[in-house]
């Protein structure tokens, strides 16, 4: 087990520091911070609402992640396959699960770094009023879990192509579907013809529905299990795809 973690951490370190070897990390962090705070203040009307909470901040996260997570995750496997380094990597004494987990965790913790960098907005709301910090903490946690779902899905899809642009587009569309499944308009159109259980099933697969619950400070077991199991399912499929597609 110790050796398993050791190898996983070597992969993790290479991938995590890899973000900083190119301008990608700074561009991503800059774009994420600019968009998340810009949307909070200008579109979410943070001051005009006159409420000491961060709803106007978290409400944009599913939509931001829709674009930004595929941007982070698109290179995970597509680049390895295009440059041929997958052959090098997979002839090292390492298992597929170590590779997939190491890469996924690196991108997930890079996202955590981006999320942590928004903490000044949490400090600001505490300075201006008396927010429920428990709700805000849970929202942060939920936001990171949701980002993990987007990333694991992107990682999985980036194994299917050698082209990063295709990986990005396919991942964005897939993430969009996962978000939109809980959107009122979509549910209303399904509700008109489908049985109730079907509508509920669609809603239960939506990132948006689960994230909305978290935003209200409710991180119940169902939501937690949903996000974690989504990540685990995508990672398992990813491990399978690495075995299947490595030599294509």
């Amino acid at each position: 087990m110790k050796l398993y973690i050791e190898k996983l951490m070597i992969i993790f370190n290479r991938e995590f520091t890899g973000y900083f070897r190119t301008p990608l990390a700074s561009i991503f962090l800059l774009v994420f911070l600019a968009l998340s705070t810009g949307m909070t203040f200008f579109m979410g009307q943070f001051f005009q609402r006159g409420q000491a909470d961060l709803n106007s901040f978290f409400v944009w996260h599913p939509w931001l992640f829709l674009i930004l997570m595929p941007a982070i995750g698109m290179r995970l496997w597509a680049e390895e396959r295009k440059s041929g380094t997958i052959e090098l990597l997979m002839t090292l004494p390492v298992t597929n699960s170590q590779l997939v987990l190491g890469k996924f965790l690196a991108s997930w913790f890079f996202t955590l770094l981006a999320i942590i960098m928004t903490i000044p907005i949490w400090i600001t709301v505490n300075y201006l009023g008396e927010p429920d910090n428990g709700v805000i903490f849970i929202s942060y946690l939920g936001s990171w879990l949701m980002a993990g779902c987007f990333l694991s899905l992107t990682s999985c899809l980036s194994m299917l192509t050698k082209n990063q642009v295709i990986a990005f587009i396919v991942s964005t569309i897939s993430c969009f579907i996962m978000v939109m499944a809980g959107f009122g308009l979509v549910l209303a159109s399904v509700r008109s013809w489908a049985p109730l259980w079907f509508t509920e099933a669609i809603q239960s697969f939506s990132f948006l529905s689960h994230f909305k619950r978290i935003q209200y400070g409710v991180l119940d077991l169902t939501t937690f299990i949903f996000f974690i199991s989504m990540i685990m399912i995508c990672i398992s499929i990813n491990i399978f795809l690495v075995q299947l597609k490595k030599a294509d």
Partner: protein, 237 residues
């Protein structure tokens, strides 16, 4: 001592039989030259020997370890230079070799020692802090060799190690292969017949996925009437 024993390997991609019934045995001190025209199945065979591809049937034992049953331990005995010498182009030479060494399970102290040896023996010292992307083809190939040798493996599998190198670099590479071959088993795939004559103790010629010739190189060279070049052309026609 036997290092690698591959028996009756088969591999097909769809309707194409890439490898049909190939068997290879590699011993300590032996350098096998794997010759064949393009698309003969050389790279596919090497990918199977290194555990990157699974054979449809047949068995591969690396120092008596079944590659399909215990791939982690079997892979740790092999050093591999894939075709085109791929490497992480955004890393420096030193950090890339350090990464591979760590993945190979080398402890810090030993890794530092091996790094020093690699940088010196493969003439990478002057570019050790350079980003791989900025290196010439020759240097990139050397980085590929260094990563394959970093853990001092018993078996070295090199897929076209001198491809794209200038004559001086080819000469240096052959010298290096010869110098390390004493206590290792090496398999080299190549198109260059003179390379086989210069460094390989055994020659295997394959075409359309089948072994057409498997002989000691010195026995082939004994034949004054036919040289390796004419034998190659005759049997791979």
């Amino acid at each position: 001592m036997n290092l690698l024993e591959a028996k009756n390997l088969y591999k097909s991609f769809g309707n194409i039989n890439a490898v049909s019934d190939i068997s290879i045995s590699l011993n300590v001190g032996e350098v096998i030259g794997f010759l064949g025209p393009n698309g003969a199945g050389k790279s596919t065979t090497m990918k199977m020997l290194t555990g990157f591809l699974e054979a449809d049937s047949g068995s591969i034992e690396i120092k008596k370890i079944d590659l399909s049953k215990d791939p982690i331990n079997a892979k740790s005995i092999i050093g591999y230079l894939p075709e085109g010498a791929p490497s992480y182009s955004d890393m420096t030479v030193k950090s890339f070799l350090y990464f591979v060494g760590k993945m190979r399970g080398l402890k810090d102290e030993l890794l530092e020692k091996r790094l020093e040896i690699m940088l010196k023996d493969i003439n990478l010292s002057e570019v050790q802090n350079q980003i791989i992307e900025t290196l010439s083809k020759g240097y990139k190939r050397r980085v590929g060799i260094a990563q394959a040798l970093i853990h001092d493996p018993d078996i070295l599998i090199l897929d076209e190690p001198t491809d794209g190198l200038d004559p001086n670099q080819k000469f240096e590479m052959r010298k290096l292969i010869k110098s390390i071959s004493k206590n290792k088993g090496i398999i080299i795939s190549t198109h260059i017949l003179e390379e086989v004559e210069a460094v390989c103790s055994r020659t295997i010629i394959i075409s359309s996925g089948k072994v057409l010739l498997n002989k000691e190189t010195k026995d082939i060279l004994k034949n004054k009437k036919e040289n390796l070049d004419s034998i190659f052309r005759k049997i791979t026609k």
